[in-house]
C-alpha cells in the first residue's frame, strides 16, 4: 500500500548508536513508510499522546466497565431507601447518586461510555464510508456526475443537520432497542463534509503523474481508485473522521437529551443528563455534571488526537 508516497526517508540511526569510542558504527539506512513517519511525528505531539491515553482509558472503561459494574434497568433500590433528593458525592459513591431512583452516577457514566462511544465511532464509520464513496465517484468521474453529486451535498449542507437528525430520530427511532437506528441516522446525515474533502483530494491526485502512468499501462479504473488514489487520500480522511466522532457524540447527547434519541432505559451520557433536568430545582449538580464532564473529556481527547494526526500527516511539519 502507498507505494507512491514512500519517501524512503534516509535516517541515520544516531539515537541507537552503540556506546563507546567506536567510530565505525553503521549508518542505518531504513526506509520508513508513510505511517511509520506519521507515528514518529505523532509521538512528539504531547497533547495528542495525552488524548490517545484518555481515549484508550475510555475504551477500556467502555469495554470492561459494564462487566465490573453491571447496569440493570430493573434493579432499583428498595422502596424504603428511596428519597426524592439525590445524594452528593461521597466515598462510596464518588460521583454521587441521582434523585428519584437513587442510581449511582458513576455506574451510569461508566455504562454510558459504552453506548456513547459506540454511537460516536460507528456512526462516524458509516458517514466516512458513504462520504468516501460519493466523494471518490464525484472526484474521479468529474463532469455531470460530479456536478450532480456536489449539488446534492450543497442541498444537504444547507439544511440544519442537527434539526433534520432530530426530526428523523423522532420519526423513525420509536422502538425499544433503537440504538442502531440512531447510529444509522447519524451516519446518513454525517457524510457531506467527507464527500467534499475526498472529492477535492481525488481531483488533485488523479492529475498526478503516477496515476497517469498507471492509466497509460492500462490499469483498470477500480484498481486506480483503490490502489493508487485512495491510499494517498487516507490521511486527511482520518483527520476529518476524528472531528466527526466528536460531533456525533455531542449530537447524540443532544438528541437523547431532548428525548428522541436512544431509549431512556439505555444509559447514554445524553440520557443521564436529560433525566437530571427535572432535578435542577433541588440543586443536584453532580447528576448532570459528571456525564457532561465525560462528554467533554472524550471530545477533547478525540480533538487532540485529530490535531496530532493533522500535524503528523502534514509533510511540511518535521519531526
Amino acid at each position: 500500500m502507498a507505494q507512491e508516497i514512500e519517501r524512503g526517508a534516509v535516517v541515520a540511526d544516531v539515537e541507537n548508536r552503540p556506546e563507546g569510542p567506536r567510530t565505525d558504527y553503521e549508518v542505518g539506512l531504513e526506509s520508513l513508510s508513510q505511517w511509520q513517519l506519521a507515528w514518529r511525528k505523532f509521538k512528539k505531539h504531547r497533547l495528542a499522546l495525552i488524548g490517545l491515553g484518555i481515549l484508550i482509558a475510555l475504551v477500556v472503561i467502555a469495554i470492561a466497565g459494564p462487566i465490573v459494574m453491571p447496569f440493570r434497568f430493573d434493579s432499583i433500590a428498595r422502596p424504603d431507601q428511596i428519597v426524592y433528593q439525590g445524594r452528593g458525592p461521597s466515598l462510596s459513591h464518588p460521583f454521587g447518586e441521582t434523585g428519584g431512583l437513587q442510581r449511582d452516577v458513576l455506574l451510569l457514566v461508566v455504562n454510558g461510555a459504552r453506548w456513547s462511544l459506540l454511537i460516536g465511532f460507528s456512526s462516524m464509520a458509516i458517514g466516512v464510508v458513504i462520504g468516501t464513496i460519493i466523494g471518490s465517484i464525484a472526484g474521479y468521474a468529474g463532469g455531470a456526475v460530479d456536478n450532480i453529486l456536489m449539488r446534492v451535498v450543497d442541498v444537504m449542507l444547507s439544511l440544519p443537520i442537527l434539526f433534520v437528525i432530530l426530526v428523523a430520530a423522532r420519526f423513525f427511532a420509536g422502538a425499544r432497542d433503537n440504538i442502531w437506528t440512531i447510529i444509522i441516522i447519524f451516519g446518513l446525515f454525517g457524510w457531506m463534509g467527507v464527500a467534499r474533502l475526498v472529492r477535492s483530494l481525488f481531483l488533485s491526485i488523479r492529475e498526478r503523474e503516477f496515476v497517469e502512468a498507471a492509466r497509460a499501462v492500462g490499469v483498470r479504473d477500480r484498481r486506480i481508485i483503490f490502489k493508487h488514489i485512495l491510499p494517498n487520500a487516507l490521511s486527511p480522511i482520518v483527520v476529518a473522521a476524528s472531528l466527526i466522532v466528536a460531533g456525533n457524540i455531542i449530537g447524540e447527547a443532544f438528541v437523547s437529551f431532548l428525548g428522541y434519541g436512544v431509549n431512556p432505559i439505555t444509559p447514554t451520557w445524553g440520557n443521564v443528563l436529560s433525566s437530571a433536568l427535572t432535578f435542577i430545582p433541588l440543586g443536584n449538580w453532580w447528576w448532570p455534571f459528571f456525564p457532561g464532564f465525560a462528554i467533554i473529556l472524550t471530545v477533547l481527547a478525540v480533538n487532540f488526537i485529530g490535531d496530532g494526526l493533522r500535524d503528523a500527516f502534514d509533510p511540511r511539519s518535521r519531526a
Binding site: 444547507s158 439544511l159 440544519p160 447527547a253 462528554i295 480533538n303
Partner: protein
C-alpha cells in the same frame, strides 16, 4: 464580476429546489402522516378521516401535492391549466402578477396542526425573540472572539495565547446544553437563585411575550419590561457566547497569524513603521477579510437561532418552535422552518461568496 454573480445565483436555484424536495421528502416519509393524530381517537370514524384527507388535498398523488405545496400548481386548475394562475400567467410568479396565493413560493406555508394559526404567523411571532437573543449573543461573541484572536496572534505563545487556546479547546468540546444546564444549576438553583432559569419574561409580572396584552403592558412600563427581558437574556447569552467564541477566536487567530507572516508586513517593519501601525493597519485589515465573510455565514443564525440554547432556556423563539413542532408532529411548521432556514443558509453563502469576490481583487471569477 456580473457574470460571476449571475452564475452563482443560477447555481443556487437547483440547490433551493433540492432543499424543497428533501424537506418535502423527509416529512412525507414520516410514519403515520397528518392523520396520525386521529389514529387512536375512537370518536373519529374512517369516513371522517377520508373527509379530512379530501378537504386538505391529501388524496391527490404525491407529485400533485408537492406541486401545490410549492406553489407552482394552482389547485383550482384543470389539466395543464394547473400551472396557470388565476390571472392567466404562470402560477409560480409572485401573487401580484399571477394571482396565485397557494404554496411556499407565495409565502403560504399552510396552517399549524397544533394551533390552527398560519405557519407564517407563528414563525414571524417567534422570529422577534430569536432575533433579540441571537443578535445580542452574536455581537458579543464576535467582539470577544476578534479581540481574543488578534491578541493571541500578536502575542503568540504568551500566557494569554495559551489560556485562549485551552479555552478554545474546552469550549469546542463542551456540549451547549450541558453548559446551559450547569449555568441554570449555578445561577438559578437553590444556592444563588439570582437569575431566572428560563423563559423570556417573568410570567407573574407580565402577559406572555408577543401577545397584544404584552405590548399594552410594554407601553405602560417600558423600562421594567426591558429590564425583565434583560435579566432573562443573561444566561442564554453567556451560553451562546462561550460556546461560539471557541471556534471563531481560533479562526481569527489563524487568519491574523497568516497576515502577520506576509511579505508586506515584513516590508512595513523594514521601513521602520511602528509595531502598532504594522499590526493594526497592515496585518489586521487584511486578516479581517476572511473573518468578515465568515461572519456573513453566521447571519442566518439571527433567524434560525439556537435550537439547543432556546430549548434549554425555553426561550420562545424559532428554536423552541422547532422543538415543539417536532414533539407534536406539526408538519407544516417543521417544513416552514426547515425551508426558510435552508433558504437563508443558501442566500448567506451566496452573499458571502459575492462579497468576498468583491472585496478581494485577487479572486478570479
Amino acid at each position: 464580476m456580473t457574470k460571476y454573480v449571475i452564475r452563482r445565483i443560477v447555481q443556487a436555484i437547483p440547490v433551493l429546489f433540492g432543499v424543497s424536495i428533501v424537506v418535502y421528502g423527509i416529512l412525507l416519509s414520516a410514519p403515520g402522516g397528518p392523520t396520525a393524530r386521529f389514529a387512536n381517537n375512537p370518536r373519529i370514524t374512517n369516513e371522517q378521516r377520508e373527509e379530512f384527507k379530501k378537504a386538505w388535498g391529501l388524496d391527490q398523488p404525491i407529485p400533485v401535492q408537492y406541486c401545490r405545496w410549492l406553489g407552482v400548481c394552482n389547485p383550482d386548475g384543470q389539466g395543464l391549466g394547473v400551472f396557470i394562475g388565476p390571472k392567466g400567467l404562470p402560477n409560480f410568479l409572485p401573487g401580484v402578477l399571477s394571482g396565485g396565493t397557494n404554496g411556499v413560493l407565495h409565502g403560504d406555508f399552510g396552517y399549524s396542526i397544533d394551533s390552527g394559526e398560519s405557519v407564517m404567523g407563528r414563525i414571524t411571532r417567534a422570529a422577534l425573540p430569536t432575533f433579540i437573543l441571537a443578535s445580542f449573543a452574536l455581537v458579543i461573541w464576535i467582539t470577544i472572539a476578534v479581540l481574543m484572536g488578534v491578541v493571541a496572534a500578536v502575542k503568540r505563545n504568551s500566557w494569554f495565547d495559551q489560556v485562549a487556546t485551552i479555552f478554545a479547546y474546552v469550549g469546542f468540546a463542551m456540549p451547549t446544553f450541558w453548559l446551559g444546564i450547569m449555568l441554570i444549576f449555578i445561577f438559578s438553583g437553590p444556592g444563588l437563585n439570582i437569575l431566572p432559569a428560563g423563559g423570556m419574561t417573568e410570567t407573574r409580572l407580565s402577559p406572555p411575550f408577543g401577545s397584544n396584552e404584552y405590548w399594552a403592558y410594554f407601553g405602560k412600563q417600558p423600562l421594567a419590561a426591558l429590564a425583565d427581558i434583560g435579566r432573562h437574556l443573561i444566561l442564554p447569552v453567556i451560553t451562546l457566547v462561550v460556546v461560539n467564541i471557541a471556534g471563531d477566536s481560533r479562526f481569527v487567530r489563524a487568519s491574523m497569524l497568516e497576515a502577520l507572516g506576509q511579505d508586506y508586513v515584513r516590508t512595513a517593519k523594514a521601513k521602520g513603521l511602528s509595531n502598532r501601525s504594522v499590526t493594526f493597519k497592515h496585518a489586521l485589515r487584511n486578516a479581517m477579510l476572511p473573518v468578515v465573510t465568515n461572519i456573513g455565514l453566521e447571519i442566518p443564525f439571527l433567524f434560525t437561532g439556537a435550537l439547543v440554547t432556546e430549548s434549554i432556556f425555553s426561550w420562545p423563539g424559532i428554536g423552541k418552535l422547532t422543538i415543539d413542532a417536532t414533539r407534536g408532529f406539526d408538519y407544516p411548521v417543521l417544513m416552514g422552518v426547515l425551508l426558510i432556514t435552508a433558504t437563508l443558509v443558501v442566500l448567506a453563502n451566496l452573499f458571502a461568496d459575492i462579497a468576498y469576490a468583491f472585496v478581494d481583487p485577487r479572486i478570479k471569477y
